[in-house]
């Protein structure tokens, strides 16, 4: 028999950015909040030995233990889905802070166009610009409606940046802290971009340019540009992460606690309400029931979708009929880019996760698509995040990948190579979706999530277009030799690409085509909220977390409203 704990007002499944934001806001509003996190406690003081590329960046010390749970993957419905046995394409978080512990901190708001992508595209280019195989959809909310929540998230982080990008939506206030240092390498990109007539700006960075105290009273320190940032925790407490911001804020209220080693396996329900969750204590194997008035899924977009599926909440999307919403609109990102080889040695090993500059001249609908065979676009950036020697072995494509020539070239180019890369939007396709795997199970006997995904025609066309642009910028930067990446092939689960997985639990203003409403309240279950990049209807040409955090703040507000009035919030 499962043990049953005392009821709490709000339980979150997972304690990363989304779980932390919900906890801080609800606890401040007087609710008793409990976080169930399957990983371990950790924080700044645990990261003094973190400058170890092999352990943290190559063997993924801080990330999900796949021996317990993974996903299965196939490129298309005809293929047999097989487990992702090793981490690769994306790096799932685990433990306090989730992936927010080891993220880069590039924190862009999405563009106004993103939220109204379908109506904007039809208005400007007509109904036939995009084939109906692409499940283009407005988000049910506008940029202006989301702006106050972006603002709050940025103030929580102390985001460092400059409001000079002509393509952004209107900001209600300037960045809380000034931009990071514009290093000589960034200036190289800036100059090239300007010479080409583009509009470079400093990447909004959660590695802070100066010490900052946020409105909750949490202190974030100044970044030291240590070069061990993405895939690492920050030993200075200088990277805005849940452990240094929202989690202490929640704890300070006395209304919050976290149970670690708690792997949630089911959302419990009675009629059309949830009553709490069931979890396995991973140390004892014991089953525990945590009753709650409000359940919030904050377990990353993959597990959010999986928990809904295994708990039979909502209707699974079926690509054959187009019916059902759960699992639909799974999107990712494409990463066209160019590598430039230079003669002079540069300090490429110095850096910070979000130290960079970007142009949006080819992002969203910031340029005319009338004669183009794709919509949307990509941000194009140069980022000096700190090269490390196992991960960075750049050689021109005519050099073999091992042996004497390789050794010489990869050593020579370690400090003589720069990359310009795009983060390309990903548009939902009817054949790209999430479902439950019929064969493989996690350690607790629960089916694994199955991903059916491949790049699309739209992706290939956009990739080709942006690759050319990145080559032009790199050439302008003065590389003696520039190589653009090859054409986009099949999506491959093995090499790292990006942890910007989106969709599956989409938001909207119509239960026919979305899983949650614009407060991320489940359409079928009023006291269940589902928060994460899973709510995105498509993925933009940026990193996702600013938008994820903004949505979490809005959800927290929704939960407070719900506690007062009950019922549907829309």
């Amino acid at each position: 028999m499962a043990k049953t704990l005392d009821k709490v007002d709000v339980v979150t499944v997972g304690v990363g950015w989304t779980g932390g934001i919900i906890a801080a806001e609800c606890a401040k509003a007087g609710m008793k909040v409990r976080g169930l996190e399957r990983g371990q406690n950790r924080g700044t003081e645990d990261f003094s030995l973190v400058h170890d590329e092999y352990r943290y960046a190559i063997r993924y010390e801080l990330m999900q233990d796949l021996s317990k749970e993974t996903i299965t993957f196939r490129n298309n419905m005809k293929q047999r889905a097989l487990p992702m046995r090793q981490l690769g394409s994306f790096l799932l978080g685990e433990g306090l802070g989730g992936a927010g512990t080891h993220w880069n901190g590039m924190t862009y708001r999405f563009l106004p166009y993103d939220f109204q992508i379908k109506s904007e595209t039809e208005k400007k280019y007509g109904k036939n610009k995009v084939s109906s195989d692409y499940l283009l959809q407005d988000w049910g909310i506008t940029y202006d409606e989301l702006e106050p929540y972006y603002d709050r998230f940025e103030k929580t982080m102390g985001l460092s940046g400059e409001d000079t990008n002509p393509f952004w939506g209107k900001r209600s206030s300037d960045f809380p802290t000034p931009p990071m240092k514009k290093t000589p390498l960034l200036q190289k990109f800036e100059k090239a971009a300007k010479d080409l007539g583009y509009h470079p700006y400093m990447v909004p960075s959660a590695n802070l340019s100066q010490p900052y105290e946020n409105p909750d009273g949490s202190q974030i320190n100044a970044c030291q540009y240590c070069g061990f940032c993405e895939r690492f925790g920050c030993e200075y407490g200088a990277k805005a992460s849940p452990e240094v911001t929202v989690i202490p804020a929640a704890k300070k209220t006395g209304n919050y606690d976290i149970i670690f080693n708690a792997n949630v396996v089911e959302v419990l329900k009675k009629g059309n309400k949830t009553t709490g969750v069931r979890y396995i204590d991973t140390q004892t194997g014991e089953e525990v029931i945590q009753p709650a008035d409000v359940v919030v899924l904050t377990s990353y977009m993959m597990n959010n979708a999986k928990l809904l599926m295994v708990s039979n909440i909502g209707e699974q999307y079926d690509p054959a009929t187009g019916k059902g919403t759960l699992g639909k609109n799974y999107c990712y990102q494409i990463e066209p880019g160019a590598t430039g080889f230079f003669d002079e040695q540069m300090n490429t090993f110095m850096g910070a996760g979000a130290l960079g500059m970007t142009i949006d001249d080819f992002n969203a609908d910031n340029f005319d698509h009338t004669d183009l065979d794709f919509i949307h676009g990509a941000s194009i950036s140069f980022v000096q995040s700190g090269s490390r020697p196992i991960g960075t072995n750049p050689v021109p494509s005519d050099v073999p990948l091992w042996g004497a020539e390789f050794k010489k070239a990869s050593i020579e180019n370690f400090t003589r190579t720069l990359d310009v890369f795009g983060q390309g939007a990903s548009i939902p396709h009817k054949h790209n979706y999430l479902s439950l795997d019929p064969t493989y199970k996690d350690k607790y006997g629960v089916p694994l999530l199955q991903m059916t995904y491949n790049f699309t025609e739209q992706d290939r066309n956009l990739h080709k277009f942006i690759t050319k642009k990145t080559v032009e910028v790199m050439e302008k930067m003065g590389a003696k030799k520039t190589e653009g990446g090859g054409p986009l092939a099949e999506y491959d689960i093995a090499p790292y690409q990006s942890t910007h997985n989106t969709g599956g639990t989409t938001m909207g203003n119509d239960p026919q085509n979305s899983v949650v409403n614009t407060y991320l309240q489940h359409w079928d279950m009023e006291n269940l909220f589902v928060v994460g990049a899973g709510n995105f209807n498509h993925n933009s040409g940026y990193n996702p977390t600013a938008t994820v955090g903004a949505l979490a703040y809005r959800t927290a507000e929704g939960i407070q409203k719900y506690r007062q009035k009950g019922g549907s919030l829309v």
């Binding site: 400058h51 992702m84 690769g88 050794k407 400090t415 890369f421 090859g486 990193n543």
Partner: protein, 249 residues
């Protein structure tokens, strides 16, 4: 984060093998290292460490391999992948074979943090690691395959081959032209190559990158507390590297 454009390696891995075959032949320098206990006093000796470095190497030894012969094959193969040259030591001199041995004895070798539940099926090219073999098993399998191949082609063990003969076999592994049980040879080669680079450049606490020579060649300063005072400089900084172990001592 976008990091895939670093290096041109990923999809070109298989494509460029043809070039590799043509350009790697004739490794004069390395040929001299072949065989047991060759080059006494040279930093590139893989075997019999105790005989050559009594004091320094007392903390180093084989934790995974039981047969010296297998270890020697591994050592020679890694040296072909990352050879000694005028820039500095190759894989053997950097302790890469020991690094790999030690890793195979732990979580890495047993795939402890990876999903190893069946059923196992041969995956498509885009589905990643699908073999039922752990890395430890895979390395043994690969090493024996290399040895068999050497015997078949040259009537000698792999470790006794000339450099260009080793390269021929390695290239065929890379091009997936050698049959292996339970896994493709291209997959094994990829693993071997990655492990070699990991051993050359991991922090020396893992028993590779001896004396931080890998970092010194590459201009990588290892663990440094901060670059806040240098990052705005135009000039390149050559910095003496430090191991993360310096934080503990």
């Amino acid at each position: 984060m976008a990091k895939t454009t670093k290096g041109v390696s990923r999809r070109d891995f298989l494509k460029t093998t043809g070039i590799a075959a043509g350009t790697l032949v004739g490794g004069g320098l390395i040929g001299g290292l072949v065989g047991y206990n060759a080059n006494k006093g040279n930093s590139s000796v893989a075997t019999a460490p105790a005989e050559d470095h009594h004091d320094a190497d007392i903390n180093r030894g084989l934790m995974f391999f039981t047969k010296r012969r297998d270890f020697e094959i591994l050592a020679q193969a890694t040296e072909r992948i990352f050879p000694e040259d005028e820039l500095g030591p190759g894989a053997i001199g950097l302790g890469v074979p020991y690094f790999i041995d030690n890793q195979l004895a732990g979580n890495y070798g047993s795939n402890a943090r990876e999903y190893m539940q069946g059923p196992f099926h041969e995956g498509g090219l885009t589905q990643g690691y699908q073999t039922r073999l752990t890395r430890a098993e895979l390395f043994m399998n690969g090493i024996h395959t290399m040895d068999q191949e050497a015997n078949k082609r040259f009537s000698k063990g792999f470790a006794e081959l000339e450099g260009d003969q080793m390269d021929e076999i390695l290239t065929d592994l890379q091009k997936d032209e050698i049959k292996m049980k339970g896994v493709s040879s291209a997959f094994f080669f990829k693993l071997l190559r990655s492990a070699t680079l990991e051993g050359a450049y991991a922090d020396p606490i893992y028993n590779g990158n001896v004396n931080m020579e890998g970092w010194k060649m590459k201009g990588f300063p290892g663990h440094q507390m901060s670059y806040i005072n240098q990052i705005e400089d135009e000039k390149f900084h050559k910095i003496d590297p430090k191991s993360i172990s310096s934080m503990q001592h």
